[in-house]
Structures are given as structure tokens and as C-alpha cells.
């Protein structure tokens, strides 16, 4: 799985990540259902315990630590459902992960228009 050169700023969700993050991802998948989101809001610690999150995963959830959640094996498709509970959109997540303010992050996206139209080679 580590045969390939690392991609900057990126962790592929491969088997190693999946094995780390299964409980975390399973919990976040449950947030598809409104009743589950409500149950989590009402008792975060209890909900996390029922899904068997480990200490590091629970800490990252408590602290809303996006990069920490990814490091603990979270898959962004399921983490997005957790972000939805918090009322965060993907620019909020982008801001949290890059250290930019939300406005700076959005401005960075717009600046991508200045990239060349053609590939270098």
C-alpha cells in the first residue's frame, strides 16, 4: 500500500486507514438518520461509546479536530455527515484543515482561475 510516493497534503483511504477507522466511520455513517443525529447531540459520549470509538477518535470528535479524525482513520464521506451535525460546510472543513480563514479559503478557490489553461508538458 505504501508502494507509491506520498501525495502532498493527502492521505488515501486505503486498507490501513480503514482498519484504524472502522468504528469511527460506522458511527458517522449512522448520521444519515435524523434520529441518530439527535441521539448523538443529546449524549455524545454515550453515543461514541456505543459505537466503540477508541480514546483518540473520541478526543478528535470532542475537539472537532478534522485533521485528527482523518489521522484516526476517518473517511471524509462519513466525516461530512458529522460536519453536517455541526452545521459546517466543506469550506468550513477546508478552513479548519488548512489554517486559512473561511474567507481566505474561498478566495484561494477563486484564485485557481488564474492557473494556466494548458498543461506544461
Amino acid at each position: 500500500m505504501d508502494r507509491y510516493p506520498p501525495i502532498p497534503g493527502t492521505t488515501l483511504f486505503d486498507g490501513a486507514q480503514a482498519r484504524k477507522g472502522y468504528a469511527l466511520n460506522r458511527m458517522c455513517f449512522s448520521f444519515n438518520e435524523a434520529a441518530n443525529r439527535e441521539a448523538f447531540r443529546a449524549d455524545e459520549a454515550g453515543y461514541m461509546q456505543r459505537y466503540g470509538l477508541n480514546g483518540e477518535q473520541a478526543r478528535a470528535i470532542r475537539e472537532r479536530d478534522v485533521l485528527g479524525l482523518l489521522a484516526e482513520g476517518g473517511n471524509v464521506y462519513y466525516l461530512a455527515k458529522f460536519a453536517g451535525i455541526l452545521g459546517l460546510d466543506v469550506q468550513d472543513l477546508g478552513s479548519a484543515q488548512t489554517g486559512l480563514s473561511k474567507d481566505e479559503f474561498k478566495a484561494m478557490l477563486v484564485r485557481a482561475n488564474e492557473q494556466p489553461d494548458t498543461l506544461a508538458s
Partner: protein, 278 residues
């Protein structure tokens, strides 16, 4: 035999749903995106397809990691959407096309594709939003056959393999004993990355080259590994696999009906391409 009229590939960013619900299409942020669909809607009105075979990726609605198929073909009488975590409204169900579903399944397995078949299947924004972009008013006029490609759990199928899947799907449609008019659709992309310090990554020159290659050089992108494509287009830019699969279903020469490219819609470089079989 069934006729493939052409193929449409489009981004499917979730924020589009909110924009439609709030009527934001003509606001400055959204206008360059939504205006792009006019010519495609017009073309669809002229050619009047009956069925859409849609290559897409599920984002954690129908499938979880417990059972994750690489390729899954819908064979349900109808397909419903559901809450993906943001409480979006449940839409009227989309009608399936069971005869074509089963014909595709028979053909794909005979062609040595190891697929998963789904006789019940929830469809997420990757299906609902493009259909709403193509037919903004009223109910969806086509029946659908969803073909889901895994982009959640690496290892993902290669671009080469997705193109071959598309080719086999195209063969199957063309050998379907029916006079129905079929359009193939691929949804997702273009370059974007939601996760990690590289969140916000966009690669405009690669996207533009990719869109150009889709017209007359459809195997261009199949030279790259999934790892290379993630490096070039972002962790979610890998959704271009859907474009590659849809293009594979079109055989013979094609004419570009319309294309559009706009940065940014949410975190995404939004692309649109409509090709007509000639």
C-alpha cells in the same frame, strides 16, 4: 436494437441542491454554472431519450464499508433518495428500467466483469442533482439504470478498467432488443479535494485537457494510475472515473454538443460535457 443518443458528463456538487431549492441560479456566484445547462437541456428536448444509464459514485448512502462493491448495477423497479446527513427532502422515486438492468447484468458477467447486482438501491445526490440539472421542471422523464463505481475505499478500479466497463455497458445497450432511446451519463468531478491539508486543491489545466480528450481521445486518461489521478485531480477529483466509464459506452465518432467549466462551485471545479453520437 436500442440506440445510444449520446453521453452527458457533469459535476454533482451537493451545494447545487441548496441553490436550486433557494432559487439562486441567476445570482453571480451560480449563474456561470447554471447557464451552462441550457444548451444541454435544449439538446435533450430535441433527442428525447427514454432511458438514462448513469455511472456515478455513492457517497455513503446506499453502501457502507461493511459491504463495498467495486461495480454495482441497479436492478430495482424504482430508486429513492434519502437523507445523507443534511436532512434534504425525499424526492419522488425515479423509475427503473428492469429489462435493461438485467440485460446489462447478463452482458457484463458474460464479459467477465464481477459485478454486484442491487434489487433495492438508494440513490444519492450524484444521481438526483444531475437529473434535476438536465430536467429542471416537472418529474424526471427518463427511466434509469444506475451503475455505481466505488470511490470510497481504496483500492479503486483503474481508469483503464472503468473505460472497459463503459465499453461493455455500451455493447450491452446496443444489443438490447428494444427501440428505446438511451443516453449515458457520468457524474462527479472535476478536480477537487475536501480532506487533508491539500483541501481546496484544483487543477485547471489538467481538467481542461481531460475534457478535451473526452471528445476525440477518450483513452488519454486511462494511461494514469488511480494514484496519479488523485495526485493530479484531488482525492475526490478521482470521480472523473465516471466520465471515463460513460465515454467508454459511446462507440464511433461523436460531436460535442456543449461544454462548460467553472471554478469554483463549493470546493469543486465544475465541469459539463455533452456529446452526441454521430
Amino acid at each position: 436494437m436500442a440506440n445510444i443518443l449520446g453521453g452527458i458528463t457533469t459535476s454533482h456538487v451537493p451545494a447545487i441542491g441548496g441553490a436550486i431549492a433557494k432559487g439562486l441560479q441567476q445570482q453571480p456566484y451560480w449563474k456561470p454554472f447554471f447557464d451552462g445547462y441550457g444548451p444541454v437541456q435544449q439538446w435533450l428536448g430535441e433527442v428525447k431519450p427514454d432511458v438514462a444509464v448513469i455511472f456515478y459514485n455513492d457517497h455513503g448512502l446506499n453502501f457502507f464499508l461493511d459491504k463495498m462493491p467495486t461495480f454495482a448495477v441497479g436492478a430495482a423497479p424504482e430508486y429513492r433518495n434519502a437523507d445523507e446527513g443534511w436532512g434534504i427532502p425525499t424526492l419522488p422515486p425515479f423509475r427503473g428500467e428492469l429489462d435493461l438492468s438485467w440485460h446489462l447484468i447478463e452482458h457484463l458477467v458474460a464479459r467477465d466483469f464481477d459485478i454486484t447486482t442491487c434489487q433495492e438501491m438508494l440513490v444519492d445526490h450524484a444521481i438526483t442533482l444531475p437529473l434535476k440539472l438536465f430536467w429542471p421542471e416537472g418529474t424526471c422523464p427518463v427511466t434509469i439504470v444506475p451503475v455505481c463505481i466505488n470511490t470510497v475505499q481504496h483500492p479503486l478500479p483503474s481508469a483503464r478498467r472503468c473505460y472497459a466497463l463503459g465499453q461493455a455497458v455500451g455493447e450491452a445497450i446496443r444489443s438490447w432488443d428494444s427501440d428505446r432511446r438511451v443516453v449515458v451519463v457520468g457524474t462527479g468531478g472535476l478536480s477537487h479535494q475536501l480532506d487533508g491539508p491539500r483541501a481546496g486543491f484544483i487543477n485547471k489545466p489538467f481538467d481542461l485537457k481531460f475534457m478535451d480528450s473526452m471528445v476525440n481521445e477518450p483513452e488519454w486518461a486511462t494511461q494514469f494510475s488511480v494514484h496519479e489521478l488523485v495526485e493530479k485531480t484531488g482525492t475526490q477529483g478521482i470521480e472523473l472515473l465516471m466520465w471515463i466509464a460513460a465515454r467508454g459506452a459511446l462507440s464511433g465518432p461523436v460531436r460535442k454538443v456543449h461544454s462548460n467549466y467553472h471554478i469554483p462551485i463549493s470546493n469543486t471545479a465544475a465541469g459539463l460535457l455533452a456529446l452526441e453520437a454521430v
